[in-house]
């Protein structure tokens, strides 16, 4: 084990996997940076530094700076994957997915199915996501519900550096397309990361914490917020299972249902908007497959049904807080 930041874990995984597999290529806006400028080459290494050093290590052929053209970036990843490569495309911000949406949900997601299983498209589309840095409505969203709903795509949403490494490695060694969300606020966060080969299987939730009175399901940055909430509740003798699904497609519902057999009380925490969300999806699945387990109404702790606001005070109010989570836990425990 070595203590690493989320950013370091991702960067080192890309370095290691590109060294292992010459078919892995990286492309996107400023993944190296500096091309055509008057300054230095590899001036950026990705907007958040995740692809830092790759250009130097693997060269311009495998680390491809692109124009600001999200359809071309994701489409090029699609075509390169069909032609035998393992492209890792970076969208500078998850919000830019809209520009590339056809290539993602009509092309990449559907090739294998509509061509009768005769091909595979191992394209990975990485994207920084999430609010908390006052970047406003078009640079702060957690839009993973949109892609989670699309058959043919897998969706990974790590909440810590170890899972970031394990999930990205699994994605790079698998044969399916993966949309990989990296919460911006997590990049500098550190934790113990296993050394050497480390793979986290998709569709296997992490039981982050065990408890007695409730089941809290949380994703990405909200896992950390839920831990803070549970720390505060411990003073009152309230404990809960904390489950991080880690991938929303496939989704490990079994771990959630098993926890509910013991607790009967469910809180789902998600930074996304509430409608047609991962939170509402899990609530619906539990209602249809685990109704008898529930002793209280399911609580959803989500952002409101609004765009992400800019001002510090507004954004803070938008993002679910540890206090919001604690209040929801208290509510179901008292029900």
């Amino acid at each position: 084990m070595t203590v690493k930041t989320f950013r370091e874990a991702l960067n080192e995984t890309l370095h290691a996997e590109m060294a292992r597999d010459s078919k892995i290529i990286v492309l996107g806006e400023d993944v190296a940076g500096g091309a055509g400028g008057t300054g230095v080459e590899e001036a950026a290494g990705g907007i958040f530094g995740v692809s830092s050093g790759l250009f130097k290590a693997f060269g311009a052929e495998r680390v491809i700076d692109t124009p600001i053209s999200e359809s071309a970036i994701v489409g090029a990843a699609a075509g390169a994957a069909l032609a035998g490569y393992r492209p890792v495309a970076e969208l500078m911000f998850a919000d830019f997915i809209g520009v590339s949406m056809d290539q993602l949900y009509n092309q990449i997601a559907k090739f294998r199915y509509m061509f009768g299983g005769k091909t595979q498209c191992p394209a990975i589309i990485r994207m920084p996501t999430g609010a908390g840095m006052n970047m406003g409505a078009q640079h702060s969203q957690t839009i993973y519900p949109i892609v989670t709903s699309v058959p043919g795509l897998k969706v990974a949403i790590p909440s810590n550096a170890a899972d970031a490494k394990g999930l990205l490695t699994t994605a790079l060694r698998g044969d399916d397309p993966v949309v990989f969300f990296e919460h911006k606020a997590l990049y500098p966060r550190k934790c113990d990361v296993p050394d050497g080969d480390y793979l986290v299987p998709f569709g296997e939730a992490a039981l982050v914490r065990e408890g007695e009175h409730a089941t809290v399901v949380a994703l990405a940055r909200m896992v950390n917020f839920a831990e803070k909430a549970l720390d505060a509740l411990a003073a009152d003798g309230i404990t809960a299972d904390l489950i991080d699904p880690r991938t929303t497609s496939p989704l490990d519902l079994d771990t959630i249902l098993e926890s509910l057999e013991a607790t009967g009380r469910l809180i789902i925490v998600d930074e996304s908007n509430p409608r047609c969300s991962v939170a509402s999806d899990i609530a619906g699945l539990v209602a249809s497959e685990g109704f008898d387990l529930l002793k209280a109404p399911v609580q959803l702790v989500t952002a409101p049904h609004t765009p992400v606001p800019f001002a510090r005070e507004l954004e803070r109010a938008y993002v679910p807080s540890p206090d919001d989570i604690a209040a929801a836990v208290r509510k179901v425990v008292a029900y």
Partner: protein, 322 residues
């Protein structure tokens, strides 16, 4: 013109196969035997064949909703294609794709595409792959006049120039994007001019003249194979049917198609040229016609008799691993 007699016969056989495949589909679709939406390529055969005659199985193409011609020209199995269009279990894509989603990766055919403008970004990716492989292979990206107005296509052309990719962007201007005329919808009325504006060589040819398409495509592919970056080829052509089968075509003058069948028929042009030049005889061409008609009859008969997919197939092939 550098084609040998066997190559001329191959070109004719491919064009004739496309024509009869489509003419027969026009008849069969009217009986209600074929589900869904079908877009016929009749009239445009010289473009698919004139371009794809330059390509090997490990060169790539991406195609369009009007893709049967590209598939046949690239070597897809005609019977497997017909079965796919009938939605049969042993169709080229197991009956899961249909007319608009035929692909054959063994033939370098990366898929027809039901999204106008969906293919060119994918073509750039295939070209990145062959460029990395360093094998001198090329990718042809087929699209219509309609696709030339899509932002995805602009992005793909710019990326191809920036990365000097071996991609040929082929634009088949058949006069209409869906039900709207090219002269209305293509603002500049000059698709090749737009392509040139991206910084690539762009040429225009008569799409009803196989030899014009073949020669120019060959010249452009040579440029691609020399590593000199992408190129574009605009082909003026017409389609002999509507946007889709069943299209009442009220947007076309009543005699338009009949006139074009007289004046812009690439098969008729081809036959006249090769017999006038003494390269092939009518008897040799007629023999190909007979072979092709038998193949199409066989394809339709086999497709009608073939079993549909098992319903369990609805759940397979979403992922490689679940």
């Amino acid at each position: 013109m550098t084609l040998q007699k066997t190559e001329l016969l191959t070109a004719y056989r491919l064009m004739k196969t496309i024509r009869e495949f489509e003419e027969r589909l026009h008849v069969e679709i009217a009986t209600g035997a074929i589900p869904g939406f079908t877009h016929l390529y009749s009239g445009q055969e010289a473009i698919a064949v004139g371009v794809c005659m330059h390509l090997a199985d490990d060169d790539y193409i991406v195609s369009t909703h009007r893709g049967h011609g590209h598939c046949i020209a690239k070597g897809c199995d005609v019977i497997g294609m017909m079965k796919e269009i009938y939605g049969r279990a042993d169709g080229l894509c197991k009956g899961k794709g249909g007319s608009m989603h035929i692909a054959d990766f063994d033939k370098g055919m990366l898929g027809a595409n039901a999204i106008v403008g969906g293919g060119p970004p994918i073509a750039t990716g295939a070209a990145i792959a062959t460029k990395l492989d360093g094998n001198g292979k090329v990718t042809a990206s087929f699209g219509g006049d309609g696709s030339s107005n899509q932002g995805t296509v602009f992005e793909a052309m710019n990326l191809a120039v920036v990365l000097k990719l071996p991609t040929l962007f082929v634009y088949e201007d058949n006069g209409y994007g869906e039900h709207t005329g090219t002269s209305y919808a293509v603002g500049s009325d000059d698709i090749a001019g737009r392509c040139a504006g991206f910084g690539m060589r762009a040429e225009k040819v008569d799409g009803a003249d196989f030899f014009a398409v073949y020669d120019m495509a060959g010249d452009l592919f040579d440029q691609l194979r020399r590593g000199e970056g992408p190129a574009a080829l605009e082909c003026a052509i017409t389609r002999f049917y509507g946007h889709y089968e069943g299209d009442p075509q009220k947007y076309r003058a009543k005699d338009e198609v009949a006139t074009f069948r007289e004046t812009m028929d690439c098969l008729r042009n081809f036959r006249k040229r090769v017999t006038d030049e003494g390269w092939l005889t009518d008897a040799e061409l007629d023999a190909v016609d007979t072979e092709v008609m038998a193949l199409i009859d066989d394809a339709v008969e086999q497709s009608k008799a073939a079993p549909p997919p098992d319903v369990s197939e609805v759940l397979t092939d979403v992922y490689v691993t679940y």
